[in-house]
């Protein structure tokens, strides 16, 4: 609300953002860490508490708003991006956060997901990806690995999974980032960048489902392998990774593919410099895809893409201003009389 914009922001603590409702995720669930990260980050942002709205769909992740002491709306399966769009269009001054999961956001809500991204509505989407349906007790999801045995795929999943960040790139997302539940500091930084971004910020948070898909991300995130299996992308920095910072990412010009190379064997100027600000969909797409399908590349964490582009709700406001400037503020009595009228005396 405009009148609150002039109010000085109180000093909030993490506690100010806890609703006090007993948190009911399973013990060991990665959602606890994400909740803690968000509750820690929000006091650090510029918004007044009353201007936050958390909109979720259905699933384990979507219980999130109940635990936040902000405005919250636990909606229906898959539709949170559409509800958030209506909210943001009417109330652009609010800081709107969509909380969704891989089933909610990419399966039943896949259509809304791609359309909110292409419109670039100025909201933030946190997708908790645990590669499983948790709330319905363990069916495979659209991000589950091929061959995953679940209750609904006793002989192994036979459909090819989606890579959320790659789908987002294809849909024209202006901000794509990836982090993980266990990386508290990285997640905090990522949330900051998402909050700062104007337009739809899409953050995929790799989240461990302790009950139905435990260790799904261990091949990347388990401490002993992590440094060699992930790369932290940083704007303007060479794409270097490895425990000893001895590996880099290079573009193979002949095959137009990315490859991991040893720095002892190639010149440093062959290593790609990360540029999330350049509208290079092809490269961002390749970065989003790294680590999947046994390509031997590290999984990209951090901000993959961050573009300044026209924002839906801004354009709507501009158009409104233009029409009012041209036609004047409308009055109903004039509108009723528009078109052909006649008088009866």
């Amino acid at each position: 609300m405009s009148e609150t914009a002039t109010i000085e922001k109180p000093v909030y603590t993490k506690k100010d953002f806890s609703s006090g409702v007993e948190v009911r995720w399973c013990p060991g669930c990665g959602d606890y860490s994400i909740l803690a990260a968000v509750q820690k980050a929000l006091p650090e942002f510029e918004h007044l508490r009353e201007n936050y709205a958390f909109i979720s769909g259905i699933g384990c992740s979507s219980r999130f708003p109940y635990y936040m002491n902000t405005y919250g709306f636990h909606t229906i399966h898959g539709r949170a991006p559409a509800i958030a769009t209506g909210l943001k269009i009417m109330r652009p001054e609010l800081s709107v956060w969509v909380i969704t999961g891989d089933g909610d956001g990419l399966s039943i809500g896949g259509n809304h997901f791609i359309h909110v991204l292409r419109r670039n509505v100025d909201i933030n989407i946190l997708l908790f990806n645990n590669e499983i349906y948790g709330l319905t007790k363990g069916q495979y999801s659209p991000t589950s690995n091929l061959g995953l045995k679940t209750k609904s795929t006793p002989y192994g999943a036979i459909d090819t999974p989606l890579i959320p960040a790659r789908l987002a790139a294809g849909a024209g997302a202006t901000f794509i980032a990836r982090s993980a539940d266990m990386l508290a500091k990285h997640l905090n930084e990522t949330l900051h960048k998402a909050n700062e971004h104007k337009g739809t910020s899409f953050v995929e948070v790799l989240q461990n489902c302790y009950i139905f898909n435990d260790g799904a991300f261990d091949p990347y995130l388990e401490k002993s392998v992590r440094d060699d299996r992930v790369i932290y992308l940083e704007a303007g920095k060479p794409m270097i990774f490895g425990k000893d910072k001895d590996k880099g990412i290079r573009l193979n010009h002949k095959t137009l593919t990315l490859e991991a190379v040893s720095l002892s064997e190639v010149a440093e100027n062959e290593i790609l410099i990360h540029d999330p600000y350049h509208n290079n969909t092809a490269l961002h797409f390749m970065l989003a895809s790294m680590g999947y399908g046994g390509d031997g590349l590290p999984l990209a964490l951090g901000v993959i893409r961050s573009l300044q582009a026209p924002i839906y709700n801004d354009r709507l406001a501009e158009q409104e201003t233009e029409v009012i400037a041209k036609k004047g503020k409308g009055r109903l009595t004039d509108l009723l009389k528009s078109g052909e009228t006649w008088e009866v005396k």
């Binding site: 609300m1 009353e50 709306f73 209506g86 943001k88 109330r91 052909e340």
Partner: protein, 625 residues
């Protein structure tokens, strides 16, 4: 009452000066290929008639395909206009005049014509090729099959081309002007001035001088052709009707609905959000409202029907007016989201412009078969308010009423319209500012004592809070709520309490809506009940029966959920009760189920409105008269 079909003697008389004869009412149907411009011709003729002060009612009838194969029967598009010197409520049962731009248009419409009807038809199109497309084996103009009609074949294409011979229009452009020739001719036949049409042409084609000149020339050529050619020995005049003083305009249901929504923004001071997905016959509401960016209206063409209603729920949650518009199949898609608004008790208006179903059904045809879907079509005990507009102009007032109830009771409201009133038009006296209903909307801003589900004692509405209000941060959602606190609750007693509270809230809406009024003497033994867009036809049927000495009473339900408080009491006064509706008995089902009163059903599911004659016959039969 003098009708055109009674004018045989005058039309047969030879006369050198063409006399102007007064008649009371005429029904014309313009029909041609989808691309022949017959909707336009019909609308322009309607406007000319409205401006003259006639009462009018129109019925556009167009195929679902934008351009079905030219010359075929499925490709025929029609526009019927009924105009009169007295009050009318329907577009007319049977056309007195058919304008048929090709053999297919003749074939598609002939069965609806009474004997002696005038058929003006474009003889240029009567070719072997077109007979084949229309399914004629012989030339209907020559085989005697039209002997009971007054057929006026005119080479309309050639006449138009000749009239435009001096212009630099190409052949295609000339051919496209032939609907103006027809309009001119019919304007002469019924003594309508050309000026309103000329003004419209000048505005429409502003900046395209050659097109303006050509259209006006074609229009005048048609008019003069009627005047000079030996087609009609006479022409006709329909006097203006006595109407209450005021400013009038011609309006369709969809236009009126859109204007009503704009009115709500002025009444409440809130912004309107329309979330919509294109669907026939509701899209025009989106088109209208999309123009009104300077009127506190924001429109959003969503990726699908579900996103459209979901975004409208987001807008309602934001503290503004959330609206979604659709038709039957789209309404089905929205039902889950509507239930979220039932559970979270947010004000939401869903306008369903009904069409023929089930499934894709008859997209461009009318039907009233979504009543039960609106009342019951959701999981769980899910009460909400259902209203139905009864005429094109009534859509304006029902739009306002829908939001009045939605915001006062914090509930979704379904507003039912249908393809017939959505596209039909009637003259509408513009309401003065005082005649527009007023109401206020309250938001909770006080943090002290705030509970998300603490209800108003009278209405049982929960408070409406705008996100952004300090100190009132709270959570809502589709899970069952604890009474008063709004916390998630799986408690069995609480669930039953909440189910009953939601039902009671909707029941209490009946305290806030007008009681049902009986039309007619109020003393008859027989009552006819209707709802929605059939009001005009049922009224005319009642009047026709009254003229024949058969007195019946009539009620028209504008509130279908909840029903008006006195409905049961009214029903108890009648020996015979008919329920007339364009479905297989959905209102009859509701009434019989609720009041255990036996009713006689009058139903039609042909994608077309009732005809007055059909209702009159059905009532006579039902009463064994």
């Amino acid at each position: 009452m003098k009708k055109l079909t009674d004018m045989s003697a005058e039309l047969d008389a030879g006369s050198s000066e063409k006399k102007l004869i007064e008649i009371d009412e005429v029904t014309i149907r313009f029909a041609g290929d989808s691309g022949d411009g017959m909707q336009l011709t019909g609308t322009r003729f309607t406007t000319a008639s409205a401006l003259l002060g006639n009462d009018i009612a129109t019925l556009p009838d167009y195929p679902a395909e934008i351009r079905a194969p030219a010359g075929t029967v499925p490709g025929v598009s029609g526009f019927q206009v009924h105009f009169s010197s007295h009050e009318i409520h329907t577009p007319g049962d049977t056309p007195d005049v058919l304008v048929a731009m090709n053999p297919a248009a003749l074939k598609a419409n002939l069965a609806d014509l009474p004997q002696q009807a005038i058929i003006i038809t474009n003889s240029d199109e009567y070719t072997a090729e077109n007979f084949a497309k229309a399914g004629y084996t012989t030339n209907p103009l020559e085989d005697g099959s039209l002997r009971n009609y007054r057929v006026i074949p005119i080479p309309i294409g050639r006449m138009t081309a000749e009239a435009l011979a001096e212009t630099d229009l190409n052949d295609k452009e000339k051919d496209r002007s032939k609907n103006m020739f027809v309009l001119g001719l019919v304007c002469w036949l019924f003594d309508r001035p050309l000026e309103p049409t000329i003004r419209w042409i000048e505005e429409k084609f502003s900046g395209k001088e050659r097109i303006i000149a050509a259209n006006i020339q074609a229009l005048k050529a048609g008019y003069h052709y009627g005047e000079t050619a030996e087609l009609f020995p006479v022409h006709f005049k329909v006097r203006k009707m006595q109407l209450p003083p005021g400013t009038y305009r011609n309006i369709t249901g969809n236009e009126a609905l859109a204007l009503g929504m704009v009115a709500v923004t002025e009444i409440t001071g809130l912004k309107l959000f329309l979330g919509s997905y294109p669907i026939t016959p509701a899209s025009d509401i989106l088109h209208e409202l999309a123009k009104y960016k300077n009127y506190n209206v924001r429109t959003f063409q969503a990726e699908d029907e579900i996103a459209a209603v979901a975004a409208a729920i987001g807008a309602a949650y934001s503290g503004n007016l959330g609206l979604t518009t659709t038709s039957g199949p789209g309404f089905s898609l929205k039902l889950e989201a509507i239930n979220l608004a039932v559970m979270t008790e947010l004000p939401l208006v869903i306008a369903n412009i009904q069409r023929g179903g089930p499934s894709t059904g008859l997209p461009t045809k009318t039907e009233q078969a979504d009543l039960l879907q609106a009342v019951f079509g959701r999981n769980g005990e899910s009460p909400l308010v259902v209203l139905a507009a009864k005429s094109p102009a009534d859509c304006f007032y029902k739009a306002i009423e829908a939001f009045r109830i939605a915001t006062k009771f914090m509930t979704p409201v379904v507003l039912l319209s249908d393809g017939f009133i959505a596209n039909s038009s009637e003259p509408w006296r513009l309401p003065s500012e005082e005649e527009i209903p007023h109401f206020t909307v309250n938001f909770r801003t006080e943090a002290e004592g705030f509970k998300p589900y603490l209800r108003d004692e009278e209405t049982l509405a929960r408070p409406w809070v705008k996100p952004g209000t300090p100190g009132l941060e709270h959570r809502i959602g589709g899970l069952e709520k604890q009474h008063i606190t709004g916390m998630v609750s799986y408690d069995p007693e609480n669930h039953e309490t909440m189910v009953k509270l939601r039902a009671e809230k909707i029941r209490r809406v009946a305290n806030d809506i007008p009681e049902i009024k009986v039309e007619g003497s109020g003393k008859a033994d027989t009552l006819i009940i209707g709802w929605g867009g059939t009001y005009g036809t049922i009224t005319d049927a009642r009047n026709t029966l009254a003229d024949e000495g058969i007195a019946i009473d009539q009620i028209h339900l504008e509130y279908l959920s909840p029903f008006p408080k006195n409905l049961k009491q009214v029903l108890e006064n009648y020996k015979n009760i008919f329920v007339a509706e364009l479905n297989l008995g959905q209102l009859a089902f509701l009434i019989q189920g609720k009041f255990a009163i036996k009713v006689k059903q009058i139903n039609k599911v042909k994608g077309q409105p009732f005809k007055v004659g059909e209702l009159v016959d059905a009532i006579r039969k039902g009463l064994s008269l």
